[in-house]
């Protein structure tokens, strides 16, 4: 009835991410696909182009620092608690990695254009700035054919493959999200040409996801691989599961800051860990279970209205006579 797509992190990345791919890098300030980031580094993928709206906690900075990325199309890249993406700064200066800057909504519009299967979208921002001047790859002027006015257009971004982290997925690849459908994942992931690799906090049976399809951000047909990865967004937050690990972000940031120190972080926390479970084990070993416990959310914000998707069976119409009245008869 459907293909089971549940597999290990290692298998998912090795099978579905190739050198030279354009990758949609999921999440925003939270829900950053860190388990996937580490695995891409472990497998030494090279010459990736990333596309994303904005991304925090330095996941992308690690990916660049580890030498995986040659081009970045983005609006904002940060590890907020150290105030800059240092590895990216160095990679830009050394010309190892090219940056293509646009505004957040130009980036999102680029992902929407890719999602929509059209080559560009008009946007209101970016005009009058250096982004428009210095990034003609992604931004140009277009004439509105109706009014004749000139405005900014952003080129469609379509990934070969998308990497995202989610709260819940089933083994077939129906991916549930709540508390926003995904900020931009609903477009970035769906626009991917080959499909989506998703790590999820929980894996459930398809009858669970399908009982509430409104919460599906990526449906089965678009998913390549489903990986069970609790804490898969750490140190970023996962809605309903854990908060942002600020101390770890700062700790990691101190390594990002220094090009000579960064390899030591990668050796210990990425290459030195067989998989994401090993990374979490190392965390507990080094900073204690209390470090993770501190991230537990305040729960109790549950839906109060019980919806029912119920349908109507047209079988009821069998034998029911036509409605009529005096005028129709006349």
């Amino acid at each position: 009835m459907a293909v089971d797509k549940l597999m290990s992190l290692k298998e998912a990345v090795s099978k579905y991410i190739h050198d030279g791919d354009t990758v949609y890098y999921g999440g925003f300030q939270i829900m950053v696909p860190m388990a996937l980031t580490h695995e891409i580094i472990r497998q030494k993928k090279r010459n990736l182009t990333t596309i994303e709206s904005s991304t925090d906690v330095g996941g992308l900075d690690l990916l660049v620092g580890a030498g995986c990325v040659s081009e970045i199309h983005s609006a904002w890249i940060m590890n907020w608690y150290v105030k800059a993406p240092y590895a990216i700064r160095r990679a830009f200066q050394s010309k190892q990695t090219k940056r293509f800057d646009v505004s957040n909504f130009a980036a999102t519009s680029a992902l929407i254009a890719g999602f929509l299967g059209v080559p560009f979208l008009p946007v209101r921002g970016n005009i009058g700035t250096d982004m428009l001047k210095l990034n003609p790859t992604d931004l140009k002027m277009v004439k509105d054919p109706f009014s004749g006015e000139e405005m900014t257009a952003v080129r469609a971004w379509r990934a070969d493959v998308a990497v995202i982290h989610a709260q819940v997925a089933d083994r077939l690849g129906n991916v549930m999200s709540w508390g926003t459908r995904g900020v931009t994942d609903e477009f970035g992931a769906m626009g991917a040409k080959r499909g989506v690799i998703v790590t999820a906090e929980e894996i459930v049976e398809p009858e669970i996801t399908r009982a509430d399809p409104d919460r599906t951000v990526v449906p089965y047909f678009k998913t390549l691989a489903v990986v069970h990865a609790p804490w898969g967004a750490h140190p970023s937050a996962c809605r309903g599961y854990y908060g942002l690990d600020i101390r770890f972000s700062q700790y990691q940031g101190k390594y990002e800051r220094n090009g000579e120190l960064l390899p030591k972080f990668l050796d210990e926390w990425v290459y030195g860990c067989e998989d994401h479970n090993a990374y979490i084990k190392k965390y507990i070993q080094k900073f204690g279970q209390a470090g993770l416990d501190r991230l537990k959310p305040t729960l109790g914000y549950k839906p109060k209205y019980q919806v029912d998707y119920g349908f109507h069976d047209p079988a009821v119409w069998k034998g029911v006579p036509q409605y009529t009245d005096e005028y129709i008869k006349a």
Binding site: A2, G117, N174, P213, F221, F311, P314, W317, K318
Partner: protein, 257 residues
């Protein structure tokens, strides 16, 4: 074993369903196509993915008979329900294998009219139908188009009064020139037979006639000079099992009569 007692609608549904291969993404319009895909999903195409304009995306047959493209039955236990945005976007991305549509008029290049008949420039002469709906989008960008049409000389015409939905337009190369990503018409299933399209000329030809019909009868119900396949044959009737499964989908004959 072939069924001996079946309705024309049942034959059409079963014949249409055979055009759907397993694991394909099928975008189905309102009406009979919704029954066809339901039938395909519970028979030979268990891995088919169903899309509708209402935004249903599902990998399993719906729990009930849908009568609209946004019918709640299409969303009960569906895979996703993002609205028209999601299914039409996938269509524009080139991810739809089969665009399954209907129409009011069709010409020899498979161009379809669902807007109206008469002369648009003289409104008083123009008889409006419903308009394009999603058929235009589906036929522009679906990898191939499957159409279902009533057979009638007023409906199989040399040139449609209003070109709502592109077939091969005026012939070979026309779609490509305009940058259409879909491959165009593949099969037309009418109330009397089945048509395909010549790869070189892009013209429609008769491939099958239904039991009880003949090439002559079909020619008489077509206004253009109908080409006939050298291999034209009688359509295989449905099997008893097919009819039985089909009737279990629509037990009261809402669609099937």
């Amino acid at each position: 074993m072939h069924a001996t007692n079946y309705k024309l609608t049942e034959l059409m549904v079963v014949r249409c369903a055979k055009e759907i291969k397993d694991s394909e993404v099928v975008f189905a319009g309102v009406g009979l196509p919704l029954v066809v895909v339901g039938f395909a999903m519970v028979t030979h195409a268990p891995n088919m993915i169903l899309f509708t304009e209402g935004g249903s995306i599902r990998a399993t047959a719906p729990p009930g008979l849908a009568i609209t493209v946004d019918d709640p039955a299409l969303f009960c236990n569906g895979d996703a329900s993002f609205g028209m945005l999601s299914t039409m976007a996938a269509l524009q991305r080139g991810e739809v294998d089969v665009a399954f549509i209907g129409g009011a008029q069709i010409d020899k290049f498979g161009n379809i009219n669902s807007t109206g008949v008469g002369d648009w420039s003289k409104p008083e002469s123009f008889t409006y139908f419903a308009g394009s709906g999603g058929a235009n989008d589906m036929a522009t960008s679906g990898k191939r188009v499957l159409a279902i049409m009533p057979q009638d000389p007023k409906k199989f015409v040399e040139k449609v009064d209003y070109l709502t939905t592109p077939g091969f337009l005026d012939g070979p190369g026309a779609r490509e020139k305009l940058g259409m990503i879909g491959g165009g018409p593949s099969v037309v299933v009418s109330t009397m037979g089945v048509y395909k399209f010549d790869e070189k000329t892009c013209e429609m030809y008769l491939a099958e006639y239904y039991p009880g019909q003949s090439v002559e009868k079909l020619k008489a119900n077509c206004s253009f000079d109908l080409k006939i396949s050298p291999n034209v044959k009688e359509t295989e009737p449905p099997t008893e099992e097919e009819i039985s499964v089909l009737r279990s989908i629509d037990p009261t004959g809402f669609y099937l009569g």
